[in-house]
Symmetry: C2
Subunit: 117 residues, 2 copies
DNA sequence: TACATAGATAGATGGCCGTCGATTTGGAGC
DNA sequence: GCTCCAAATCGACGGCCATCTATCTATGTA
């Protein structure tokens, strides 16, 4: 059984002892994982990922009034999801008169993409 | 106001009419977005992303009994999170005697990484 | 001024999900 | 058979979150 390269309990140990040496997991990695998890969480809702998908398909910025009819959801619900995406730093918005235009911030997605790779 | 390249309401329209032409959003893209959202959702919990982080730091496979003491969580909770990751196709496991060894399936992460890029 | 419209916010509701302790499963060894 | 142990599953609880309707804010127009 080739467990040499693997992280396995080191040996048989007396009952009552902890099962194995704790693996080190540095705080820096922990913090970055938490940051990435926050971005992933925002993308974890199908509607939000679809919003991102639509937004980045357009070079410019997309009016909210174009986004709402794409989904079988109320306007406040879409507005809520856009806010979640904005709070996660995935999109940003810009107001022009009555209209609000949303656009993707590519760096945030790139950051997660790089972490996953 | 330069909205030429942007997705903006096309014109003033009579009251009562829908606010704008619906943007086309093909079902294929919708389906893939939903698949990617499922993966992102599984990664959206800090503990789960940390589990993935630990697993991929090791070339081989990691025993559950090594993972549990890394977090301030009960054994059933860690087991639950591992199951969520496995159901999403992000990790898989292999039993050897009393121990269970988990490992990352790199393709799934690559797929999401590519989608984000 | 008043009115209409786009989008954001507030508050309520229902369901999902993370967590736990208790129990079960299944393999190892006696 | 029996016991011990690692891991998974069960059942319950509590909090978070997606959704809605209703309302508010802000801007444009008459």
């Amino acid at each position: 059984m080739a467990v040499d390269l693997e992280l396995a309990p080191k040996q048989k140990r007396p009952a009552g002892e902890p099962c194995c040496e704790p693996v080190v997991y540095p705080d820096i990695q922990r913090q970055q994982a938490e940051r990435m998890a926050a971005v992933a969480k925002a993308l974890g809702e199908p509607i939000r990922l679809q919003l991102v998908d639509v937004l980045r398909k357009h070079a410019g910025k997309v009016c909210v009034c174009e986004l709402v009819p794409l989904f079988d959801l109320s306007q406040p619900t879409v507005s809520h999801h856009l806010k979640v995406l904005r709070d996660a730093g995935i999109v940003d918005s810009e107001r022009r008169g009555l209209w609000a235009f949303y656009y993707v911030i590519p760096e945030t997605l790139k950051e997660l993409s790089a972490w996953l790779k």
